[in-house]
């Protein structure tokens, strides 16, 4: 909870991607391995520690739309890739990039979205649905009011039109629904326990060998 308190103190409206994931990991939600660096050499060392390939992302709370800002370098396969990408980010003149996030590259075979919002009448509500770019295009999502019972978590997965995405698809194993249910329940509990958290997006939540992992995350604060 220290992450939240610190961010509130410094007047932040949201946690950075990295802080968001540190917080979510504390709550038992699986996230990517990643490190924030400020120099090129640190970036190279971090990439080696995480293991190639990696992703580099411009980091900082002002940078919540990294894709649109072209601040994501995917599939960096070696030291040269990392150095080039790092230099590219910090030399940008349109946005100021002071920190860079070096992150485990998760291929995954499916993209889901989960999130948290607060309803004026019913309080914290958990969202589940199709992730990545399809979240906005299809809006194939479902909600449940927190706290979620296990059956709520299971039923909300079946509520979306594209629920077959959870089954075995194209020789990939079915999504581990129990783990996914744990995550949905945990997200609801975060909403109940932290009044200062207004909204959460975890998008994409990728599926690797049937297990979900949060690849990008945004925690919005009531500040």
């Amino acid at each position: 909870m220290k992450i939240i308190e610190d961010a509130l103190k410094r007047g932040a409206k949201a946690l950075s991607e990295h802080e968001s994931k540190l917080f979510l990991a504390e709550q038992g939600i699986p996230v990517t391995r990643e490190t924030v660096v400020t120099t090129e050499d640190e970036a190279v060392a971090a990439a080696a520690a995480i293991g190639y390939p990696v992703v580099l992302k411009g980091s900082g709370e002002a940078l919540s739309h990294k894709t649109e800002l072209n601040l994501i370098a995917l599939d960096m396969r070696d030291e040269a890739d990392v150095r080039t990408a790092f230099k590219g980010f910090v030399s940008r003149t349109d946005v100021e990039v002071k920190e860079v996030l070096v992150q485990q590259m998760v291929k995954g075979d499916r993209e889901l979205v989960i999130g948290l919002t607060r309803d004026d009448q019913f309080g914290p509500c958990v969202m589940f649905g199709l992730g990545g770019i399809f979240t906005e295009i299809l809006e194939d999502i479902s909600f449940r009011v927190a706290p979620l019972e296990r059956i709520d978590a299971m039923e909300m997965m079946d509520d979306i039109r594209g629920k077959k995405i959870l089954g075995p698809v194209r020789r990939k194993p079915a999504v581990d629904r129990d783990v996914l249910a744990d995550i949905l329940i945990a997200l609801g509990q975060i909403g109940l326990d932290n009044e200062k958290i207004k909204e959460i997006d975890i998008n994409p939540l990728k599926i690797v060998d049937g297990k979900p992992i949060a690849v990008d995350a945004l925690v919005v604060l009531d500040n």
Binding site: V113, T117, Q121, V145
Partner: protein
Amino acid sequence: MSCVEAEKAEAGVFERIFYPRRIAVVGVSPNGMGFGSGMLAALRAIGFEGTIYAVNPRGGEFFGMKLYKSIGEIPTPIDFAVIAVRAAIVPEMLEACREKGAAGAEILSSGFSETGTAEGIALEREIRECAQRGMRIIGPNCFGIYCPGSGLTLLPGPELSRTSGPVGFLSQSGGMSIDFAHLGKWMGVKFSKVISFGNGADLREAELLRYMGDDAETDVITMYVEGVEDGEEFFDTLRDVTAEKPVIVYKGGLSDAGNRAVLSHTASMGGSARIWKSVLTQCNAVQVHDLNEMAQASLAFSCLPGKVYRGISVAGGGGALGVSACDSAEQFGFELPPLEKGISDRIMEILPKPGSSAGNPIDVANPMVPPEVLKQTLLYAAEDSRVDIQILVQLLYHYKSVALGLGVESVKDVTPYGALADAVHDVVTTTGKPVILVLPNNKRDRESLDIEDMMREARDIFLEKGIPVFDDLTDALRAVSHVSNYYETKQRRQQGI
């Protein structure tokens, strides 16, 4: 008081509210039809079972009834009061009723919080304070309570049915309560209690829902809500009650607040319409989208055994039944299993030819197949183990041409709906599988009012035998799907994941 004693006392209070022996109608104008006089006239017309005391400060008479000058002047204690005076003096009248021993009161008057004025809000607070001193309040700004058993009725409800039934209705809107009460009367929805609670100064959605959940007279709860006072309490109550009884919810004013200031996609997509829908799903409430759907669902829940229905047989003739039946069934998640060979062969032996077919849907070839043949068809079809429920579509209006051909004046004289009702009733009793009647009337021109009359009589006769009737196949299928989905979810949750 112990918990059990408190509950008993509470039940006693509600008993005195819904089945009052003595009531006061406060605000009866001897000339003209205000809310008070309208309600008094309605109570007398419907045949309220108890004693009515009418109150007007000027005294006098109302159609031969003495008007008491004050509540204090009423010679006996009262159980319940109808308040229809101007807003400013409502708190004073309420207090007098409480002193007269009233367990509750309904306030028809408006001019309270709904006006948004400081005065209105202050008056409503006074009402709440009076309630806290020991009286339960319905309203203000409502149409009151309709209880067929006691003869309490809505404003303006002099002609509502006195036949009680399993459906309870809670409504924030007075107009919706009177509309549903009238609609129910001809559609066959019978009520235990209808409560229009208006502003809900004291009793409102969550507590009334809890009451209906506990009420032995109510098996099916329906409600119209626009907003709730306490989301968490409503949610918990709704979830508890649906574990016992079906709750059909018509949520008015569903819209997504488009331009809320939010940063995440989750929040931007989680507008109130989506959240409401989720709440109703999560609580296993039956969500309906208009008054007709609510009434149709109520009818289905009232008449059908509570269980999951998957396989349907549809039989009828003389219309474009086949494709539309299949499409509608699929839309609502039902199957129309092709009947087993042996069964369909036996059905073909008895149906008129040519033009008939006995797959599923069963085309009986024409709308004038005699009731005994339809009966045998339904008996055979029910033998198929995949058929859980049967729907018979009858285009009775075609008998008009028979009447014209025979030179008979009224279509009633040639339409065998009485025999058909007996036949269908026998099928249900014999097979244990429910049958639903769909009676479309496509001939509604003014020259055919005798058809309308015949259809209404036919409907009543079927309903008397407990057979639900719908105007339209899609309506019927949707209503059955509500029943089926409710019980499926209920069973799944009881069994665990």
